[in-house]
């Protein structure tokens, strides 16, 4: 079966990634924390979050944010996209009742000395109109039809952060 595949010849620096908008409900925060096995109360206990952390509600946990960014990038690349690294800075928290909006732009395309083709993207997450997280990710994509970054093993896979 053919799956949607983004190949390097169809990507250029400056390209925008399609925007993703998600309304965040309390269950999204709690489900995300439980999926990540994160039992800390600020992700499920309103009283603890407001009184101990000094924030206005429970908020999204870090591993779940990483999972959202991964999903956002691979929605764009299709299943042949293979994440090399992801780096993000949390400037503010994501709370229930807010709308998360993911946006992104391609900053560069390059091929490493093992022949693996990489797209580097800068991503922004806003929630409730605030920029809550900025992120850079490096994702391997097929150079052309028939290439598959997932087949790289051992020293053919060199994703270390710059």
């Amino acid at each position: 079966m053919a799956y949607p595949t983004l190949t390097a010849d169809r990507v250029s620096p400056g390209d925008a990634l399609p925007e993703l908008s998600v309304d965040v409900k309390p269950v999204d925060i709690v489900l995300g924390a439980m999926a990540a096995r994160d039992w800390r109360p600020q992700h499920h206990d309103y009283k603890f979050a407001t009184e101990n952390n000094g924030v206005r509600d429970i908020f999204m946990n870090t591993p779940n944010l990483a999972a959202w960014f991964e999903r956002y990038v691979t929605d764009w690349t299709g299943p042949y996209g293979r994440m090399g690294w992801i780096r993000f800075r949390m400037k503010d928290s994501v709370f229930p009742g807010e709308t998360m909006v993911f946006g992104g732009e391609v900053k560069g395309i390059d091929t490493d000395d093992r022949g693996c083709t990489w797209a580097e993207v800068e991503l922004t997450l806003t929630a409730g109109g605030r920029v809550t997280t900025v992120c850079t990710a490096r994702v391997a994509i097929p150079a052309s039809e028939g290439d598959n970054p997932w087949k790289r093993r051992g020293d053919q896979w060199q994703p270390r952060a710059a």
Binding site: G54, N64, A67, F69, E70, G84, W85, M90, W150, R153
Partner: protein, 168 residues
């Protein structure tokens, strides 16, 4: 000259809390995680797609830390186990009751597959001098968490920047 206690200075660069996951990588958590972020990537849901593209079912790479988060309760455990123990050690040493994570970098190696039993360890990279932010007074610290599979293959590294603080 460092203002850090000798105990903390000794932790910097030291491989600590080497441990094996409490359970094998399993598919239920893979589905739950994909569900939590509405990730419909067929390599996680469709065995045929996974076979064709990734050589079999894999876990979303961003799940790397999930496999080491301890059970909330377990028999014969007297004290609740905490993930990222170095972070909690620092909170205790500096008497900083609150903490947040500000930066996170995750680098992904060999794919993680159901049935894998992973191993991890933590390395404290540095601790800042006292800082004041809008949250309170405290310190920043950088911690690396390394992950390997049962074959000794590198499967990922997480690097965290945390801020432990007191709301004065």
């Amino acid at each position: 000259m460092s203002d850090l206690p000798a105990e903390v200075q000794a932790w910097i660069g030291e491989k600590r809390y080497e441990t094996e996951g409490e359970f094998d990588v399993e598919r239920g958590y893979i589905f739950t995680t994909c569900s939590s972020v509405q990730n419909g990537n067929p390599i996680f849901w469709d065995d045929k797609a996974a076979e064709e593209i990734t050589g079999g079912v894999i876990a979303p790479p961003a799940m790397i830390s999930v496999w080491f988060r301890p059970h909330h309760w377990a028999p014969n455990r007297e004290k609740q186990a905490l993930p990222l123990q170095v972070h909690f050690d620092l909170k205790e040493v500096f008497d900083l009751p609150e903490a947040v994570m500000s930066d996170n970098t995750v680098t992904f190696g060999e794919p993680v597959r159901p049935g894998d039993r992973l191993k991890t360890w933590q390395v404290l990279r540095n601790v800042s001098t006292p800082k004041t932010t809008k949250l309170g007074n405290g310190r920043f610290w950088d911690i690396d968490v390394e992950y390997q599979n049962q074959k000794g293959e590198w499967v990922g590294t997480e690097s965290y920047t945390g801020f432990g603080y007191r709301r004065d």
